[in-house]
Symmetry: C2
Subunit: 192 residues, 2 copies
Amino acid sequence: MSQAAQQTRERVPMNGVDTPTLFATINVVRDQPALAKFQFRATNRWVGGTHSQSRIEKFSGAGGEQSHGQAFHFDADHPKVLVGGDQGPTPVEFLLHALASCLTAGIANVAAARGVKLSEVRSTVEGDIDLRGILGLADDVRNGYEKIRVSFSIKGEAPAEKLLEIAEQSRSRSAVFDVITNNVPVEITVHA
Amino acid sequence: MSQAAQQTRERVPMNGVDTPTLFATINVVRDQPALAKFQFRATNRWVGGTHSQSRIEKFSGAGGEQSHGQAFHFDADHPKVLVGGDQGPTPVEFLLHALASCLTAGIANVAAARGVKLSEVRSTVEGDIDLRGILGLADDVRNGYEKIRVSFSIKGEAPAEKLLEIAEQSRSRSAVFDVITNNVPVEITVHA
């Protein structure tokens, strides 16, 4: 395929992705890097026991304050087997959702950019954790997950090899994959 | 306070935490470390564009298969300014919720264990991210957050110093804080 033909193909909306606008946005950011500086936020309040609720609505980026179309609220809790109230998933389960959804969004975007029509993307994420860490029972056991496994099933109008390449490109540009597999400095301040 | 008096105090339910059962659970796990092996899971399916939905319900641990009292469903999407459909928060915002809720659950548990009655725990989490990473516009910019800041406001029936110690103990035993500030290996397999 000629480069011109490929470029035309890449500008077609696909997989529910508005590919022309996505490419236009990338080009704008290329010219004005400051627009790429984003800050995401969540506020959380303790409800009782191990149950808390977060609110997600505002963020900044693209040169100004932004807002989701609505405020999203999420509960988290510990399960009953860990003496919690089970009013929501555990915090560590939200990490698995974040990872799966980040990789999946990337797969849809990359496939659209490469002109590949997808019909199905499904994944299962498993995280192994030894709770002796957080329970303070073993100093040589870490607090968090020891290992996370993601299993994808991807179907689309392309050879398997191309679908695997799309998944790999998504992984290589995934924000959540980076956060989980590399260190992010976290600063905690407490007002009491 | 004598050790006996302190022990009695520690066994009183507080902050909505069933402290006696929590301590009993920790003692059982101390004697049977295999019970501490947990596996958390999420399944995700692509909806369209950058929108996907995760389901969280089953997990294993405490020697067997476990289940939340209900299946929890969560949507994630990219915001409109990033050419998404805004059908949910972004995946990276769920990381902030996970962090806040993990630290908050720990604060409630630790405070109860130390006999400190809490009246309020609020937090704001901010994550700075330069999207030139995920957009493929700058090789020296990482994909994920560059920095995360958590600001807690804690009120309770204890001197400020004690409340700060409780927050610090929660941080030192937080699973999500560990995942974000240290590496977790992630294995991805793709069936296409």
